[in-house]
Structure formats: C-alpha cells, structure tokens
C-alpha cells in the first residue's frame, strides 16, 4: 500500500490547535483553492511565465504543509526552487496525481 498522502499526526495537531470544526471549513477552502492553483501552474508552464509559476508553486507548498500533505509540499517546493525551466509535463502530472490522493484523504479526514 502506498504511504499516506496526509501525515495523520500533523493533521491531528492542526485540529488540536485550530479546532476540528474550523479545520473542516479550512479543508473545504483548500479543496476550492487548490485546483485553480494547479491550473495556474499548468498555464504558467505553457506560457513560459516563470514568476507566476514560482508563485503558484509557493502557494501550493505552503498550503500543503499546513494540512500535513508532506509529499505534495515537497513536490511543490521542488518546482518552486527549480523553477519553470526544470518542470516537465510529467512532473506537473505527478503533482496533480499527488494532489488528488491528498484531496481524497483530506475529504475522508474531514468527514470522520
């Protein structure tokens, strides 16, 4: 079985410090905000816009680590640091898959 996309300890700590009800809303906000960020990343890549690319990767990294989505955060960080030139359609697709996996787990955790 694949490693969990969400670090349960980090997520539990978030719930403990911010409150479970609040975290439910926060997950919903992330699930609304993240797809446009991923889309922006792809558009910036296609358009060759390095600054927009870096910024989208930065936001995604920041939010992913908030929810304990460690792998997603690490992948977004790689994209932020290495920039547009190093990114490939394959690395963006891998990021999108990792987001999907994180989103599934986050929904499950939210509804627990």
């Amino acid at each position: 079985m694949a490693a969990p996309a969400i670090d349960r300890a980090a997520f539990a700590e978030l719930q403990a410090t911010a409150g479970a009800d609040f975290v439910r809303e926060l997950v919903d906000t992330f699930l609304e905000e993240a797809p446009p960020m991923l889309a922006e990343l792809g558009e910036a890549h296609a358009a060759g816009s390095a600054e927009a690319f870096r910024r989208a990767a930065h936001s995604l990294k920041s939010n992913a680590s908030t929810f304990g989505a460690a792998t997603l955060a690490a992948m977004a960080r790689e994209l932020e640091l290495q920039g547009l030139a190093a990114a490939t359609p394959a690395s963006l697709a891998a990021l999108a898959r990792q987001y999907d996996a994180a989103a599934v787990e986050l929904k499950a955790l939210r509804d627990e």
Binding site: T17, A18, G19, F22, E25, L26, T29, F30, E33, R55, H58, S59, K61, S62, N63, S65, T66, R77, E80, L81
Partner: protein, 357 residues
C-alpha cells in the same frame, strides 16, 4: 509580567492565500486577540491608515503589493513606522529573511506557523510596543514648550535616569563552529528557538531583553520599571536559561546535531537608563560600568569554564539563597582594579560552560 505580555491586542493579518489567512486569523483569535485581515499589501496599508493596530503579521509573496513594498512604505510613514511587524512566510532562502529584518521587520516566522512560537513572538513584540508607547506618552506628558526648553538647557537626555538594577549578558558558546557545521536555515531556526527560550526565562522573571546581538542578548532587571529583587530575578532567569539550553542540547544530540551551550554574566549596580538611537530606530538601554562589567563577566565564562558568573554586588544581594563559588579577583580590560568574580553553582549551572576546544 506574563499578563501584560499576552493582553489582547488588535492585529492585522495580511496574506493573499485564503487558507493561510483563515488559519492565522483563527490561531490569533484563539489567543484572545481581535483580528482583521487583508488579502494584499495595498488593502493592508489602507486599513492601517484608517484604524489603530498593535501589530502586523505580514506575508511576503503577494500580488498587487508584496510584503517588501509594505515594509518600505511603513518605514517611510511617520505614523506607522513604529508598528511592529512579524513576517510570516515560507520564502526560500536566508537572504530574504535578512532582507525583511533590514527593512525593519521585528521577527520572522516560517510557515506553517507553530502556535507556541507565534504566541511567544507576539508577546515579545507587544511588550516592546508597550514600552515604546509608554515612552511616547511620557514625552507627550512632559513635552510642554517650557519643559522641552528646560530639558534642552539642562542637557539631560529625555527620560535618561539613574537606576539601580542588574544587567545580564548571554551568548552562545562556539557559535562560529556551530554555524559552519550546519546549513544556514538550521542556524536561523536555532537562533529563533534560542531567542524564544531566553525571552521566556527573562520576561518570566521580570526582566526586559533590550538588545539582540547576533548570537547573544542583553537584558535589564529593574528598568524601565523598578523590580524589588532585581539581582535575585536576574540569577533565577540565568539558571532557567541554562536549564532550557540543556534541554535544547539533549534534543539536538538525539537528532544528531551539535549541542548548544551558553555563557551568562550578571552585574548589579547603578546605571543610566533611557532611550538611545536615531529617529528611525531607538532602543531602551542602560549604560555605565555595571553594563560593561556584565559584558566582561559573560566573556570570562569562556576562561572560567562556568555557565554563570556574577559580580560581588549581585552576590551580596543573593545572600544564602543561591549557591555560589568564589573564584577570586580577575583583572578585566578597562577596569583599574581587579574584580571579585563568583560562579553560580546550583542546578544545571554547575556543569562547565564549555568544553576546552
């Protein structure tokens, strides 16, 4: 002291990212503060001009107007330049952190923001703001034309006054070697942890940190507010600091990192306390022989291989309450006569301050 530290305040959170903004706002509200938020720098500046805020929590990476531009605008604005700013960001690179601090940010917290650190940093920033506001109020109260003229003629610095208190200097031993042994990000993290722990021990015992110097700091006990047992409070803070650093050292050893040690010097006596600095940057400080002696004692911990050294006046005020060992007279640079030096030997302070290297 802790109560004034964490009194509710009016805070402004600036972040373009909705998740970050909501979460930070929530954490601060749970700490009892009143929180407003803005999605970018431009909106934040408008809000700052309209309402009174005690503290700004600022993201760097934002559209329309980024955090660096906000810091520049604040520094240029007479009414806003004293507003404390804590940068909350996940910017990559030490250079960006340094740039924030050079632009006047008071502190830097990496995202995701740790709730305990957040609380400590906000407490420290608000305490500093409270001191500055107190000072401004003092100036307002006394600055009638007659008083201003009198002050000018008598040649006294405004609010500079003689006080009796204790001064504490603390410094990380072998910091240079430590810096070279680990990545810069880890050094910044270590410094942040170090300052958080030290601030806590000092303010918890009624002291005020008034200077942070690279890997060290200076704290005053007995000014700006009088403190009954300033020498005892300073020594209690020092013992706590050494204990906290010991704990941090154990944690680091377990993580395979180099341990951390500190040296602390404390002197007690008369000094002149007041604000010094320029229009842009002022600090509350104390000057005089007592301050110099405390700094020399801190340096001498490297030679004496003790964690905490105190002078005779501090020792006399301690009485039998704290175990000390008399190390005998030491000739210090800038002192005509040798000075009696004592080592505090209770608790974790009994261990040597450093290994010979």
């Amino acid at each position: 002291m802790n109560d004034t530290h964490h009194a509710p305040a009016r805070l402004l959170v600036v972040d373009d990212n909705k998740v970050n903004r909501l979460l930070l706002t929530r954490s601060l509200e749970l700490q009892g503060h009143t929180v407003a938020s803005a999605p970018n720098g431009r909106v934040a500046l408008e809000m700052l001009k309209d309402g009174a805020f005690d503290l700004l929590l600022l993201d760097m990476e934002m559209p329309e107007m980024n955090g660096f531009e906000v810091l520049e605008q604040l520094a240029a604005d007479r009414a806003l330049r004293d507003l404390p700013v804590i940068v909350t960001s996940s910017l990559e690179g030490l250079g960006n952190v340094v740039r924030c601090i050079e632009l006047g940010a008071e502190d830097y917290l990496a995202k995701p923001v740790n709730a305990v650190l957040l609380k400590a940093r906000i407490g420290a920033s608000l305490e500093k703001k409270r001191l500055r506001d107190q000072q401004k109020e003092l100036v307002r109260r006394f600055a009638t034309p007659e008083v201003a003229q009198d002050l000018q003629q008598s040649g006294f610095a405004l609010a500079g006054r003689r006080v009796r208190g204790s001064v504490l200097f603390c410094d990380i031993r072998d910091f240079t070697a430590l810096v070279e042994s680990q990545p810069p990000e880890e050094t910044i993290e270590l410094l942040n942890t170090f300052y958080t722990l030290m601030f806590d021990a000092i303010s918890g015992n009624g002291g005020v940190v008034n200077q942070m110097i690279g890997d060290g700091l200076m704290a005053i006990f007995g000014a700006p507010l009088p403190l009954a047992d300033h020498a005892g409070a300073a020594v209690r803070a020092a013992v706590e600091m050494v204990e906290l650093i010991d704990l941090l050292g154990n944690e680091r050893r377990e993580a395979g990192r180099a341990a951390v040690r500190v040296g602390i010097g404390i002197a007690t006596g008369e000094m002149v306390a007041g604000y010094t600095g320029t229009q842009q940057r002022a600090t509350y400080t104390c000057i005089g022989d007592t301050v110099n002696l405390a700094a020399r004692l801190e340096q001498h911990t490297k030679v004496a291989l003790r964690a905490i050294l105190v002078d005779a006046d501090t020792c006399a005020e301690l009485g039998d309450r704290v175990a000390v060992e008399r190390l005998g007279p030491v000739a210090f640079r800038g002192k005509a006569l040798p000075v009696e030096v004592f080592a505090v030997t209770c608790g974790a302070a009994a261990a040597p301050a450093t290994r010979a290297s």
